[in-house]
């Protein structure tokens, strides 16, 4: 029996060929460069995610200049509290070294009380707590305590 190819088949094949090549061309331009390198995402996006600028410099950057504070802190219970915990983001200050670029907490009852106020949910062994309603009323914490060395009492 002679093989007979219906006339619509070559035409269909041409149409399919056009659509498939069109798809491949579009795909080439639409799919981002690094897509699929590690998975179903753009690998270059990880570089984007690593780009944002720092605001918090990290404690090591502080101690490059403030060696004296490191010495003070290392002798007392605030040793494990990093500088930016109270002083806020410090990257700007690390770059400029200006006093105005770093936050200086007031040492008021509210500032220290944020951690040290007596509260039922805090574990006593974790943090020293004072009853702000009874403890030296009217005085700011910083008048007696040095925040870098809290048990080295002033005066």
């Amino acid at each position: 029996m002679k093989f007979y190819l219906p006339p619509q088949i070559p035409r269909l094949a041409i149409a399919f060929g056009i659509f498939i090549s069109l798809f491949l061309v579009l795909r080439h331009f639409l799919v981002p460069d690094t897509f699929g390198e590690y998975g179903h995402y753009r690998a270059a996006s990880m570089i984007d995610n690593a780009k944002p600028e720092l605001h918090y410099a990290g404690q090591d950057a502080c101690f490059k200049c403030h060696q004296d504070i490191q010495d003070k802190k290392s002798q007392d219970v605030h040793v494990d509290i990093h500088c930016e915990s109270c002083h806020g983001p410090g990257e700007k200050h690390v770059i400029s070294s200006k006093v105005g670029d770093i936050f200086r907490p007031s040492g008021s009852r509210e500032v220290c009380g944020k951690c040290h106020a007596l509260y039922v949910g805090k574990v006593k062994s974790t943090i020293a707590q004072v009853d702000l309603a009874k403890h030296n009323i009217g005085k700011n914490c910083i008048e007696c305590h040095n925040p870098h060395q809290p048990w080295e009492m002033k005066k």
Partner: protein
Amino acid sequence: MSQSTSTMGNEKVKTSRRKFLKNASVLAAATVGYSWLKSSQFLLHAAEPEDKSLPWYGVVIDIQKCIGCGNCASACKKENDVPVEPFFFRTWVEQYTVKNDGSVNIISPNGGIDGFKQTVPDEDIFKSFFVPKMCNHCAKSPCTQVCPVGATYISPEGVVLIDEKYCIGCRYCVQACPYGCRFIHPVKKVANKCTLCYHRLKKGLAPACMEVCPTGARMYGNLRDKDSAIVEYLKEHTTQVLRPNLNTGSKLYYNALSSEVR
């Protein structure tokens, strides 16, 4: 085995009872064995990472150490340029108060940034504690699976990240996260979430929330390095993940997690 008869393609399968029972029992044993293996994987760190030279990050939060100062939530917003208002958070702190009658009061005013006031009178309190929340960086995260454009993914380091250039802001992932850790950034209008401060990790710094935590309640580390501090911690403490029943492969381990926490 099977012998086909010539009538209309109907087949008669001939098999012995012994053979049938043998095949059936093998099949049943294989099914049970496979499902057992699958379900116990969440105890491990779920997905086996591909590139072994990279770290595989996990996080530990010690609820006993958290004092609810809100430093983490505040620092996170500053570090990652998330507007203070409206109140969307990459990390936030919840105050749980279990009353004597067994009811639980959960509050998180302004994500805990301004600290907490106890609204329940002292005599009614059975116990109270703080639970810091953040992205669980799941190894089998539901949020990355629903993204229609491949704009969110688990990086080879096990950090769940967002491709902000290709995110279309469809909110599928916001819905999919069982921990409520995603939101639409009010300025950028694309999905946003905790990146474990990926930009800091790459520079060798700790995430901002861990940098500022005064009690060291948070810890991150490489789960693949069996000598790392975090693995030592997980060995020595009974930790639990949130919603283990969802099998998300969460890598955020809580120490001293109470059953009231949702």
